[in-house]
């Protein structure tokens, strides 16, 4: 059981690490519509979870031309929040991801330092797995060759699909990189998860990929990287399982 404080959280958006410009984020979660009804003969008003809404609260941060200010007109991106607890997030840390666009970007009036607020709309209409919470498979950092990561144990296989969110913050060399997810039943023999793959050619990008809604994801998952021409890539990768 580990509790945490916000200074160990990390926030990525549109392929940028904006943690060092962020002063706060009000909320990150999921809320299902409910309609508490009771037929005449029933004892208590009850609900069935309806459509889920992924919630991303207002972000506040520094007015910084290199970070938040540069993202003010973002129309399609992924936002990923990694929870570190008592140290910077690592592989297996809890994460929250959502496809977003920037709805508002407004400069505020700080006492001394200029600050801004940013609000978001969640562009989740084509997400088939309505779960924003998952785990980091690759904490933000550089890889210099085709490689694979350590398996992250979910405790059991799941059968309601998964989606991955990635942020590429730096690339060296020219070519392409394919980021993907493997799964395994025993943490020994891995195979690619159909649908969870993305190819990038430049830094400063984010995106997501998903399986079908009923795909089985085996107990262990890890990142997989294939480089063609590129000599180094810095990226973060999170995977969210449907539950």
């Amino acid at each position: 059981m580990t509790r945490g404080v916000s200074r160990y959280n990390r926030l990525y958006m549109a392929g940028a690490d904006i943690s060092c410009s962020t002063l706060g984020l009000d909320a990150a979660g999921v809320e299902y519509e409910t309609d508490a009804l009771a037929s005449w003969c029933e004892q208590v008003r009850g609900s069935i979870p309806g459509a889920p809404a992924i919630t991303v609260g207002q972000l506040s941060g520094y007015l910084d031309t290199e970070r938040l200010h540069a993202l003010r007109d973002t129309t399609s991106s992924v936002l990923t929040l990694a929870f570190g607890g008592t140290a910077a997030p690592t592989t297996g840390s809890p994460a929250f991801s959502a496809p977003v666009l920037v709805r508002s970007y407004q400069a505020g009036e700080g006492d001394t330092i200029s600050t801004v607020t940013m609000t978001f709309d969640v562009l989740a209409s084509d997400l088939v797995i309505p779960m924003p919470f998952g785990v980091l498979l690759h904490a933000l950092g550089a890889e210099t060759g085709s490689n694979t990561g350590a398996g992250v144990d979910a405790g059991a296989a799941t059968t309601r699909g998964a989606w991955m969110a990635y942020h590429v913050t730096a690339i060296a060399g020219t070519g392409s990189a394919t980021i993907s997810v493997d799964d395994s039943a025993d943490n020994v023999t891995y195979a690619a998860v159909s649908g969870l793959t993305a190819t990038v050619t430049a830094a400063g990008v984010s995106g997501y990929a998903q399986t079908t809604a009923t795909a089985t994801i085996r107990r262990y998952a890890r990142w997989q990287l294939s480089l063609t021409g590129i000599t180094s890539i810095a990226f973060a990768l999170a995977m969210m399982r449907g539950l």
Binding site: N9, A28, Y32, G46, P130
Partner: protein, 151 residues
């Protein structure tokens, strides 16, 4: 110790909910509201009545809790939010010591058609707290006050 009577304080309140595997888990909280049944008041007054009168209709029993973000709790709650399986829920009020049988509790032991569902789980990354909401499953029997633990 034996069950005690009298007043108590919130440090002896325990909130428990089924995880996705059907095991009751204690969720560390620092706020809870809505523990109990809240009946709608149905006005049955006729013009000719000397005084307005009401009867109780269906009760609501939604519960909202907040607490410190915790990786273990996070795993439990992300595993049940939006789920369609009714869950056992038990709010235990220990009387000036850790709760034991004979002291007040409110909740329900889940069946395939009765229990609670988790309808919302929101994390506040600023202060690293969470808020979760729970509602009875449609068609469920009513949760109730008692003195024996749910299972």
């Amino acid at each position: 110790m034996t069950a005690q009577t009298g007043r108590t304080v919130n440090r002896f309140i325990t909130f428990k909910i089924h995880d996705s595997g059907g095991t009751l888990r204690t969720i560390p909280i620092n706020s809870i509201n809505g523990v109990g049944l809240d009946y709608e008041s149905v006005d049955v007054t006729a013009w000719s009545d000397a005084v307005k009168g009401a009867l109780t209709g269906h009760p609501s029993a939604e519960i909202e809790v907040s607490g410190p973000f915790d990786t273990t709790t996070h795993g439990y709650l992300t595993g049940i939010v939006g789920g369609m399986t009714p869950l056992s829920l038990d709010v235990q009020f220990g009387i000036r010591h850790a709760w034991e049988s004979g002291e007040p509790q409110f909740g329900i032991t889940a069946t395939s058609s009765a229990g609670y569902i988790c309808t919302s789980y929101i994390v506040n990354p600023n202060d690293m707290t969470f808020t979760a909401k729970f509602a009875p499953f449609s068609g469920s029997t009513a949760p109730a006050w008692g003195t024996s633990a749910e299972s």
